[in-house]
Amino acid sequence: MLTLDQVYCGYDSEDVIRNVSFRVKEGDILCLLGPNGCGKTTLLKAIAGLLPYKGHLRWLGQEIHTLKRNQLAAGIALMSQISETYFEYSVYDTVMLGRYLHGKKGFLPSISDEDRVMVRKALEEVELWREREHPITQLSGGQLQRVFLARTFVQEPKLILLDEPTNHLDLKYQLELMERLSVWSKQPGRAVIGVFHDLNLAMQFAEKVIILDQGQVVLQGPTGQVLQDSMISKVFDVDVLNYMQSSLKKWLPPLEGNDSR
């Protein structure tokens, strides 16, 4: 579906992403990992067609920069980190915006019954149907995240790009979101690329992992192979085993016979 071949991109002629190559196939849930500032969000933006790039970045065989915005949006949706909004859109109207490309064609915009059905289904899935008339300016961060997720689903893309989607979500919704994405991506012609900070979630749901460091791919492959203690320690500059052991010691009761008192 998506091919990156020696891709370079960034801002103001300075490359943040350097020589990145990988492929995404149908059904993939791919996780981008790496320390802050390593270029994960920049890479997602390039895939979404928001940044110019060098090299080859192809969606269904066509270079992304040659596609029009509506062609790209019909295939790829980006759910970015929560953006500030000054205007009091209702939850329903916000999700309905995701139907932009599917709306009835005419001089004035109109909403079809299919649009209404899709929006209702998406809002029920994220458990916000009852709050549909609430202004989004009054929602919590987690609720807003779920609104944007519903909007992403009603766009009916083939590839969903997620930039730290579990931020602001409590544990229940984090797990539900990942389950939903898992089910969604298993339908024909679909895939997910996500930037996650939570390594546990990444290990549980992603089948492939790409680790970026300073804009370059340092490792990619199946999740189990890539997410080894030594690699995490190297990239994130933390001693994972030591950290985990000290956390466990703090909270778990001492084993019988090992008490030194």
Binding site: L78, F87, S90, L97
Partner: protein
């Protein structure tokens, strides 16, 4: 209450404002007679037999022509303000921020001091010059902003617009300084007035306002998406750069036309979208038509006050919009806020 009912309510209120404009003035005219004149002129129906010709002239040719122009100007300014606030994601933005009014004022001032008149358009030379220089100022501001900032962000456009406004205002001050005998004329034009306007002016502005509003309604969803930021709009399929240019041109053309016929009238474009958003939410398919109706009605009421409060002398309507609009805006804004 559903938004469609609110729209119906606002249309009724607008019609009542027109009726008030027809009845209130130095000569009070009963509503029955005013309605009879309107029915006669619009539909050829004779409701009353003995309406004097003078009453007919006052209601139709003087008051309703003036009220119609006030309504169109108010509606154009309000819609234009709505669009600018959404496109630039700045609740304080308006076409004025981008230099429409200062550009139009400079163009008008140059026509006033030179006494220049185009052969075919004649009396419309002044508004035409105002419109074109207003549009030119916005074009230069936006073109400059897009060169400086390839991302074409709202803040850059607002900042560049403000710099252009200050620059053009400085030129205007110089013009006024070097031609002191024309200063009063320029100042009066800038204050805004609907005095001595007839149906001819309405006929010129009406198609511009209708076409502008219809095209903006076509872009209602794009406007919604742009309020969430350009990146979000782009990933949902909006050609943001092209759409922003179109929307800003339409908004500037609406303000430019309104300003060029009535002079500079502030505040309507700022308050109307805020008041309407508080009432019906932010979706532009409702905000645009309701802003037009609210802005138009508000302007008609402001003009009634301007021409009656110290009759027979008229006050500048721009001062009235700010005097009435300021406290009203604060009331609406904080009244709603207290509920949350």
């Amino acid at each position: 209450m559903k938004n469609s009912s609110k729209l119906g309510g606002m249309i009724t209120l607008s019609l009542l404002c027109f009726l008030a404009a027809a009845c209130i003035g130095s000569v009070a005219i009963p509503a029955k007679e005013a309605l009879a004149v309107i029915a006669q002129r619009l539909f050829g129906i004779s409701l009353l037999r003995d309406v004097e010709p003078l009453t007919q002239t006052i209601v139709w040719d003087l008051r309703l022509a003036r009220a119609s122009l006030a309504f169109l100007v108010g509606a154009s300014l309000a819609v234009s303000g709505t669009v600018m606030q959404s496109v630039l994601r700045n609740p304080l933005a308006s076409s004025y921020t981008l230099g429409v009014s200062s550009g139009a004022s400079l163009g008008a001032a140059l026509i006033i001091i030179s006494g220049f008149s185009l052969p075919i358009v004649g009396a419309f030379t002044l508004p035409l010059a105002g419109l074109l220089t207003g549009l030119l100022t916005v074009y230069l501001a936006v073109a400059m902003a897009s060169r400086v900032d390839k991302g074409f962000s709202g803040n850059t456009i607002v900042l560049t617009g403000m710099v252009f406004t200050l620059f053009v205002n400085a030129l205007l001050t110089l013009v006024a300084y070097f031609f002191p005998n024309r200063t009063r004329h320029i100042l009066l034009w800038q204050m805004g007035s609907f005095a001595l306007k007839d149906w001819g002016t309405v006929r010129v502005l009406l198609p511009i306002a209708i076409v502008g509003l219809l095209f903006l309604m076509r872009y209602a969803r794009e406007l919604d998406m742009l309020t969430f930021g350009e990146e979000q709009a782009a990933v949902m399929g909006v050609e943001t750069r092209r759409v922003k240019w179109i929307l800003m041109f339409l908004a500037a053309a609406l303000t430019g036309s309104a300003v060029s016929f009535a002079g500079v009238i502030g505040f309507i474009d700022l308050i109307s979208p805020h008041v309407v958003r508080r009432w019906v939410g932010a979706a532009h398919r409702w905000v645009l038509p309701l802003s037009a109706l609210f802005g138009g009605s508000f302007m008609v009421l402001a003009d009634i006050v301007a021409r009656t409060v110290i009759s027979p002398t008229e006050l500048p309507v721009g001062a009235i919009t700010a005097l009435l609009g300021g406290p009203f805006f604060l009331y609406v804004y904080f009244q709603k806020r207290r509920r949350y």
